[in-house]
Subunit: 321 residues, 2 copies
Amino acid sequence: MRALCCDGADSARLERGYPEPSPAAGEAVIRPSLAGICNTDLELANGYMGFSGVLGHEFVGIVESCGDSGLVGARVVGEINCPCGSCSLCLSGKGNHCPQRTVLGIMGRDGVFADIFTLPVGNLLVVPDKITDTQAVFTEPLAAAFEIINQVRIGPGDKVATLGDGKLGLLVGQVISLTGCDLVAVGRHPEKLEILAQRGITTALDRDMVSMRSSFDVVVDATGSAKGFALAVELARPCGTIVLKTTTANPAGLDSNRIVIDELTVIGSRCGPFDKALDALENRLVDVEPMVSEIFHFDYGVEAMKRASEGATLKVLMDFN
Amino acid sequence: MRALCCDGADSARLERGYPEPSPAAGEAVIRPSLAGICNTDLELANGYMGFSGVLGHEFVGIVESCGDSGLVGARVVGEINCPCGSCSLCLSGKGNHCPQRTVLGIMGRDGVFADIFTLPVGNLLVVPDKITDTQAVFTEPLAAAFEIINQVRIGPGDKVATLGDGKLGLLVGQVISLTGCDLVAVGRHPEKLEILAQRGITTALDRDMVSMRSSFDVVVDATGSAKGFALAVELARPCGTIVLKTTTANPAGLDSNRIVIDELTVIGSRCGPFDKALDALENRLVDVEPMVSEIFHFDYGVEAMKRASEGATLKVLMDFN
């Protein structure tokens, strides 16, 4: 089958004779319809975490086969962490942090940039009819944005800044705005911020934030760059909270002295609740379609990855049909 | 008067003709009896924060003069942050983070290593008779240790590690042990850890902690070194909490990826409640006297600073009588 792979050293390549996966017990075989390229995919292709195998974890697809015959033919999205189910973390509801877990297209498990892939049936969620494929493919990163408000209580009266106007930053800005807080979404690209402004969200360019130093209760860094954390520290008030939303192949060296002196709380935030993301998509609480920069046919997956890595690009999708 | 000074570039020096301070409105003039040397003093003398002036912020002393005549002759300790009292942070009870604040012997205000110094009357707390001078001089760092349990709920059933067996680490270990949690106090010096073991606290050497990776709900880093944070990340469970207790002249570059992937919470912790520290000293809930390595007469202040900087040393005090 076709598969877009990396080997942890070189950039991504499209293989045409990649072996088809055999589903383990409890796994479904899924044929992706649309898949999204995440910055993590670009970083994995550049050697981050030493991943080797099929890339990709954002998808909407059709179940081709599985033990639970009721799901065959269903249109699904899927949670990307595959926990062992029996360790103490799994039993305490923290399966996303299971030390034995594999992660779809990220750690120990081939991803979705292929003609077919496998995932445990328990990871799958059926996509409501009202949600288009183009919307559904945003479920995974949107769930990650919802994780922030799972972790930090944000509501009316709270002064919040989101940093970053990339793919994840725009989702984070939209989700945080649902809380009714006093939000400024900060970025570097007026044309990207315009997607948020269209939804009535206050936006600002990062260079214009100097006058707002030490004034935010919560700052969410979704920039994927070390400079983002430095700006977050500038903007957070003493005893404020900084949410770190993005990993990077060149991790930030956080200034521990500022954290201590200002008694800041820094919270790492990763994968989130798929059900809340699907609910938000179904009820049009967020607007993801303006974020699609381009759709490539999967045969041009290498070109799609290249396009996704260009600065002006937002979400690049791959069509498998 | 005599004053132990630094100029932000060179090491500390004892001046004999330093000008006596004039108290501002609302300030008391205090004559220190005993003063403690903190690692921050050593770092300031080495250029940290560019401080220039009289060092020192840990003291017990006698009020020589003040507007409130009832305090003259009283034996006092004092909070080190001097906030403006009128900004939004001060009005919200966060005066320790007032952006206009001065900090005794640390920022914009001469410290206590002098024959006399000044401090606002509102910063002073009278020391109960049951507390000796040697105990009282630990009030400031002990309050900093209490700040941790002001910020993070720790109690029975929580698995906690404290890292560091220096001056602050030993106070932190004792305070955390009061919560009834399942505590391991980790260090590198068996003879220092013995002070905690004498109080029934479980101790361990850091090199023996490998088998306890990812198992602690809360890890407090009071090592004052970048390696401490790295060990804290190793020991904290996913979704666990790390408390950063120490600043350093060479701040740690924290690995932001591990914070994100493990969804850790990192909390900076600085100054704390003096009343709780005095209460703990009065009721013998902590044992500080075994931590005194040596007492120098103030005339030998430069030698005292040198002694305090030696690895095997715990608290070095200076006697002003």
